[in-house]
């Protein structure tokens, strides 16, 4: 399913404290592809993801998911669309602290009025390598493990689009490779659209296409580069800023 952003502008604050987080960004995320978004800290990557996922309404411009214009939806309709078609992994604070890992994973389905089988929840946790932690609460999990529970939760509804904000930021090499492979497979085998923000050139190299963001503007777009080449581009960009 295609996610389209047209002239999306996002302005935070007013007066002198005004910040232009996105500056007329136009971009398409076609289905079945793995997209990476890179850029310096504060360049608007998270904001771009929030707008594309319908978590936040842009100041100006239009966002559509699978042909539906998000601007025309009320809060409830928007929530339903998000619940049914979009998975999201936040940069941090992903889990409801009073619920166990399994309960957190089951949450989107429960909210949609379904009662997922324990096998389905276990399968989702197994896919992120946490089958043995189903009963643990977030406070009993490491930062990386919490992140993987959040990924399992984003995937359990088999969403058409998955947005992930630095999903591997807190993971070691091995787990990080696992997560990247998982996302790659979703794109290849299930034709899901994956949009991932990352600072890691190695992670970005797994993607089909890398978007470079600076000061809220799309400044570059590369495809099929290896990690070394991507790292070079990023360095260039950071120097230019």
């Amino acid at each position: 399913m295609t996610v389209t952003l047209r002239d999306v502008r996002m302005i935070y604050g007013t007066g002198t404290r005004q910040v232009r987080a996105l500056d007329d960004v136009t971009v398409d995320f076609p289905p079945g592809a793995f997209h990476a978004v890179m850029g310096p800290s504060g360049s608007g990557k998270s904001t771009l993801l929030h707008c594309a996922a319908g978590l936040e309404r842009p100041t100006a411009g239009a966002v559509s998911v699978g042909g539906t214009d998000l601007g025309g939806l009320n809060e409830t309709a928007l929530t339903r669309l998000r619940r049914d078609r979009i998975g999201f992994v936040f940069q941090a604070f992903n889990l409801v602290s009073s619920l166990s890992a399994a309960q957190n994973v089951a949450l989107p389905l429960r909210l949609a009025g379904h009662r997922p089988t324990p096998e389905r929840v276990a399968g989702a946790l197994d896919a992120v390598g946490l089958a043995d932690r189903a009963g643990h609460r977030p406070s009993e999990l490491s930062g990386g493990q919490q992140q993987r529970v959040a990924i399992a939760r984003a995937l359990i509804t088999a969403p058409a689009v998955v947005f992930a904000d630095e999903p591997t930021g807190a993971l070691d090499n091995r787990s990080s490779r696992q997560v990247l492979h998982l996302l790659r497979r979703l794109a290849d085998e299930h034709r899901q659209t994956i949009v991932m923000v990352t600072h890691d050139p190695v992670a970005a190299a797994v993607a089909d296409r890398v978007l470079m963001l600076a000061d809220g503007r799309l400044v570059d777009e590369v495809a099929d580069l290896d990690a070394v080449a991507i790292a070079a581009r990023v360095t260039e960009l950071e120097l230019a800023c």
């Binding site: 409830t76 929530t79 339903r80 998000r82 936040f90 992903n94 409801v96 949609a112």
Partner: protein, 741 residues
């Protein structure tokens, strides 16, 4: 979900339903009770009712002796009637060791049908009496009885087991010539009795016989009803108020979690439903426990209420399933109402709230909060104005109570506007880093500060308002009385309902007469010539009064009655037609050397300031009851909100420890924060209550045409504030200790 935050609502609903259940059970138990002496009589005939409003509690118009005789004669002829008893109560009080026996103030004519002798024989002679065996006077011994004419020795001929004395029929007919109830013994057909009585009286059978209970008992029960209703209303209000402030609190603490739920697919409606469902569950659980506690409390309280004189003797808890059922239903309702505003706010939380690191209040005052706060303030002011123009005392009480409630809501909603200024003033003397910490944490979360202060505000406002209202009106009445007393010494009753003739032979008597079928309180003054009267509105013409013995007389009105009096009659006439009439007080030009039993001498100022009249005492008892209920609920609520907020503050305290604060400094910070909250709540509460009080004082002033100063029992209020402070500091400092590690 949100399990940890259910405690606040639980406590609020528990308190609310416990009080509502207890008061409802007590309320529904208060029903008329058939006096014991009529227990064996199947049919009672009562004299015609007075034309007064029901809440005047006027005794029915008595039959004159002749009418009663003739009616009794007709009744005796009805088939199945075994005997007809004329009920003749009068004032008679035994004296034991020189002092009148308290509460033992009534005598009756003896009848074998209604009385049961334990030993001895019925009274026959003019000075014969049957007394309670508990008095300890043997058969054949002598007892001193006070009647309206004064003390006299009586010969005891027998004993009974009730707190009353019984004299022979002729003596009773002299002491109580008018008759209000005829008791019919036997098994007559009620229809036959009705046709014999006709329009001369009311025939009562079965449960309706209880309607002959003394009107004073009915009045006591009615006052009890008013107070218990006020307590129920207050408990319901406090329950909703506390549930609202704790759930608003819970929602602001759970912002991030709710945001996350929204992000993973919960619709605003689902968030609302989740909070409502949780409120319903918590409400039902708390309600079940609360009703249980309330019913238990009702049983314990019933005896105390009789003891305090709020309910007539013989009052017991009765079972009506609907009362606990209604209280049970109130629980979830209270929880839902309390959650409504918070749920609305929670459903507005956006999915990205999950990303905000800490709760940063953007605007302490939302537009809705302004609107609701100003609306409540307007309602409170309107009620205060209504209070100020109210002419009826019961309207006055209702308006001022409503006004106080509205003002409390307004003060809570608008508190964030004044909190920054209050914090600045209150913390001025606290210097150094701790002062800064406390100030900043109170100022960055003004709404949190406002909602933790809310229960203190409620508690203190009600303490000031309720006790202040009572003391202000008592003081106003005392001032009015003092202005009219012009005597060196005042003779007042001592352990008796009034002064008898031997103590004060010329003192003004108090009685009740009937004018055109309406009961009117009247005085019997020795200064009035026979055949004349002073009457309130006209001051001229003629007035026909029916005396308590049922005899009517037409008097010439020679002038207007003094203020607050409706009718003044010649003392001799009153004495002749009401042998039980007593004088409330006697004003003397000099202190007498000796006084008769049942009277004591006080100076004019003491007399005016006396608040031990029966009504004042009842009202003060009620006041303390209300105060205990609201202060108890308030203290728990204060502890509850502070514990809830302390959990959130624990992180901050830990950071403080890590940055080098000693455990003592952390505990001091926590204590300071709690004390600040109590100070803010108390100041706002006192201010609010004073506003409402000024409204009712103006009303009283308008009524009496004299300035009425606002009187507040500050020591009592100080106790309430101190209680809140102790609870708050404990609730704040305990979790701070947990941050030691």
């Amino acid at each position: 979900m949100l399990t940890r935050d259910r405690l606040g609502t639980f406590v609020a609903v528990l308190l609310g339903t416990a009080i509502v259940a207890a008061t409802l059970v007590l309320l529904t138990s208060a029903r008329p009770r058939l006096p014991d002496r009529f227990a064996d009589l199947a049919v009672l005939v009562q004299s015609p009712a007075a034309a007064n409003r029901p809440d005047a509690f006027a005794e029915p118009v008595p039959w004159p002796a002749g009418t009663a005789e003739r009616l009794a004669g007709r009744l005796r002829a009805v088939p199945g009637v075994r005997a007809v008893v004329e009920d003749r109560p009068f004032y008679a009080q035994p004296v034991r060791s020189g002092r009148p026996v308290p509460g033992h103030t009534v005598g009756y004519g003896w009848s074998d049908v209604t009385g049961r002798l334990l030993d001895g024989s019925p009274p026959a002679g003019d000075r014969d009496v049957v007394v309670d065996r508990a008095l300890g006077v043997p058969v054949g011994g002598t007892v001193t009885l006070l009647t309206a004419s004064g003390p006299a020795p009586w010969r005891v001929t027998g004993h009974v087991g009730t707190a009353a004395v019984f004299v022979s029929g002729p003596v009773a007919a002299r002491l109580s010539p008018g008759v209000r109830v005829l008791g019919v013994a036997g098994r007559p057909d009620p229809a036959a009795v009705r046709s014999v009585v006709g329009g001369d009286g009311t025939v009562l059978t079965g449960d309706r016989r209880a309607e002959v209970e003394p009107r004073a008992d009915a009045r006591t029960r009615w006052i009890g009803l008013q107070v218990l209703t006020a307590t129920t209303a207050l408990a319901g209000f406090a329950g909703v108020f506390l549930a609202a402030s704790t759930s608003a609190f819970a929602v602001s603490q759970r912002r991030r979690e709710i945001g996350l739920l929204r992000a993973v697919g919960a619709t605003p409606r689902q968030v609302r439903a989740m909070l409502y469902r949780s409120a319903l569950l918590v409400g039902a659980a708390a309600s079940a426990l609360g009703v249980g506690l309330g019913v238990l409390a009702a049983h314990l309280l019933a005896g105390r209420l009789v003891h305090a004189g709020i309910e007539p003797a013989g009052y017991t808890v009765r079972w009506w399933t609907w009362a606990p059922a209604a209280a049970f239903a109130a629980g979830p309702l209270v929880a839902l109402l309390g959650t409504a505003a918070a749920a609305r706010r929670a459903s507005r939380i956006g999915p990205l709230e999950a990303m905000r690191a800490a709760e940063v209040e953007k605007r302490p005052m939302t537009r809705l909060r302004w609107l609701a706060g100003l609306a409540a303030a307007a309602a409170g002011t309107a009620a205060a104005v209504a209070t100020a123009v109210a002419s009826d005392v019961s309207d006055l009480a209702q308006y001022s109570m409503l006004g106080a409630m509205a003002l409390v809501v307004a003060a809570t909603l608008l508190a964030p506007v004044v909190i920054p200024a209050l914090v600045g003033v209150l913390l001025r003397p606290v210097r150094g880093v701790l002062g800064m910490l406390v100030r900043e944490s109170a100022l960055t979360a003004v709404r949190r500060t406002a909602s933790t202060a809310a229960p203190v505000l409620l508690t203190v406002a009600f303490a000031v308002f309720v006790t202040g209202t009572v003391q202000t009106s008592t003081a106003a009445y005392a001032a009015r009385r003092a202005a009219t007393v012009d005597a060196a010494a005042v003779l007042v009753p001592d352990g008796t309902p009034g002064l008898h003739d031997a103590a004060a032979g010329r003192a003004t008597l108090r009685t009740q007469v009937y004018v055109a079928g309406t009961a009117v309180p009247a005085l019997g003054s020795a200064d009035l010539p026979p055949g004349t009267a002073l009457a309130a509105p006209t001051g001229a013409g003629r007035v026909t009064v029916t005396y308590p013995d049922g005899v009517a007389e037409t008097l010439r009105v020679t002038g207007p009655a003094p203020p607050e009096t409706e009718l003044v009659l010649p003392r001799a006439s009153v004495r002749a037609h009401d042998p039980s009439a007593l004088a409330p007080a006697a004003f003397l030009p000099a202190r007498p050397a000796v006084t008769a039993p049942g009277a004591e001498v006080v100076d004019a100022a003491t007399y005016a300031a006396r608040t031990d009249t029966e009504d004042d005492r009842l009202v003060w008892t009620f006041t303390l009851l209300l105060l205990a209920v609201s202060a108890g609920a308030g203290a728990l609520a204060v502890a509850n909100t502070l514990l809830m907020s302390a959990r959130q503050r624990i992180g901050d305290y830990r950071v403080l420890r890590l940055s080098g604060a000693t455990p003592g400094q952390v505990a001091l910070t926590a204590a300071l924060e709690s004390a600040l909250v109590v100070a803010i709540g108390s100041l706002l509460g006192i201010g609010t209550a004073l506003l409402a009080l000024i409204g009712s004082a103006q009303s009283l002033a308008a009524q009496s045409g004299r300035a009425v100063p606002v009187v507040v029992p500050w020591p009592l209020v100080a106790c309430v504030v101190a209680g809140c402070l102790v609870v708050a500091v404990a609730a704040g400092a305990l979790p701070a200790r947990a941050a030691r590690g």
